[in-house]
Symmetry: C2
């Protein structure tokens, strides 16, 4: 196995570097890509394989699939970074054997890949759970939110970008209790909504912000308070310690999930279940 | 076809009246029940077929299934009222041919039945989307919410009970603009979260409160504002008029869905799709 971490710069440069890696290390028989989104994953759409309305500078309406396919001349399977991570966790990580679970990432942004009845939720597109609206008490937290689309949606209040804008320091450099108390509160509000809408067996919380020591424990306690005993099933016992958990594959969920995507592309399947 | 509407009084009396109806009108070969919840629908659970933590007086921890099955000696299929309505709408109503949709009821309470990838979301239990947390601006609406579990969750702010408690009049008697403006705002916040988490092709909004003239139109406009162009697919064109719609079966979605449940019980299947 070879691994290379590349900075995300411009689309053409980043894609050229990725292609260079595969040419150098290869030949490869298939490529799996787990990318930030939103992505157009509708087969038959004119912009299939494009990144669509992302606020990430320079990346809106970028074709990811065609350059990789043209340059490497192998099957390329594309999915969101969080779907890819969910696939990885289901194959080897914290979701083995589960039919209904969510992989949530809390990093620069917030997003989630969702399995329901052993299949990825694809609906009209992939879910965008980071942009759910949650209560925001301006008297406690006057920060207006960082989301360019929605202001104080979950991502606008609780992503790494939101933390840095609110506290003028990056999440890694925040060691006081207050920022993490607030963060746990917002995450628990997001998790309560996901729990009620999707009734998963487990929510795996990955991403750079989520790695902060103690954050998941605090989030579990707040989630229990918010649910107020309304839901009752075995998976929620023992302080939700088996319900809200870190990824079993650490920060490799997405990459390993992408290898599953590549395997599916070779076999000509679309990974949704089984 | 025969139809009888019975008041919901105590469990024993209501069930006895329902059994009396079937004996009088029958014999029946199977019974389908769409009931308010939460319900325990986990096969093998000790309380399978029970209403569980409902705040409805006298109905918590009531066995629905056994009395019906014992008295009528036929297969009885039980599901939530909203799952039953979703099944009805999918068979004959506003969701024919859809694989991903939500039936939301806005009446005394708020609840939803959810199809994902052509199957009902069942996870660890049925979804309880009415209890999602949404923004609540106390300076605009100081009402603390009516939900006995969560205060100002979606149901606590926007159900028929919440409207009556807030305005001291029932929804049918509210004709000013302000209450319905507020109601549309809360519903749109609920719909934005459902849209982002479940990416359905359509959300069908039924229930007594939702029948108020103009409410869905106002809700659509607020939903469009809240999404702020973040999602983009053909189903969302034309002012969301095909996205947020009333039930095709009017107030019969649940009853007709229950007839599908009964059909499934006769055939020995569990209705989840296909």
């Amino acid at each position: 196995m070879a691994r290379r971490v590349l900075p995300t710069t411009t689309p053409s440069r980043t894609l050229a570097e990725a292609i260079g890696f595969f040419r150098e290390w290869g030949p490869v028989s298939a490529v799996g890509v787990g990318a930030f989104g939103p992505l157009d994953l509708r087969p038959g759409s004119a912009t299939f394989g494009f990144i669509t309305t992302t606020p990430k500078a320079g990346w809106a309406h970028t074709d990811l699939l065609t350059p990789l396919r043209d340059a490497l001349a192998v099957p390329v399977a594309l999915d969101t970074d969080v779907n890819s991570a969910a696939i990885g966790e289901r194959r080897w990580g914290s979701a083995v054997g589960l039919r209904d679970f969510i992989y949530l990432t809390v990093g620069t942004g917030i997003g989630g890949g969702v399995f329901v009845n052993d299949e990825l939720v694809r609906g009209t597109q992939h879910p965008e759970v980071g942009h759910m609206r949650i209560p925001h008490d301006l008297s406690v937290d006057p920060f207006p939110g960082s989301c360019p689309y929605h202001g104080d949606c979950l991502e606008g209040l609780a992503s790494g970008v939101a933390m840095r804008e609110r506290w003028r320091r990056s999440a890694e450099d925040l060691n006081d209790a207050a920022p993490w108390e607030l963060e746990a509160n917002y995450l628990a509000l997001g998790l309560v909504n996901l729990t009620l809408a999707l009734v998963p067996e487990r929510i795996i919380v990955g991403g750079g912000v989520a790695r902060h020591a103690g954050l998941l424990a605090l989030t579990r306690r707040k989630l229990i308070e918010l649910l107020a005993g309304y839901l009752d099933h075995p998976g929620l016992s023992d302080g939700f310690e088996e319900y809200v958990i870190p990824p079993g594959l650490g920060d490799l969920s997405g990459v390993l999930g992408a290898s599953e995507l590549a395997r599916g592309a070779t076999a000509g399947e679309r990974i949704t279940g089984g």
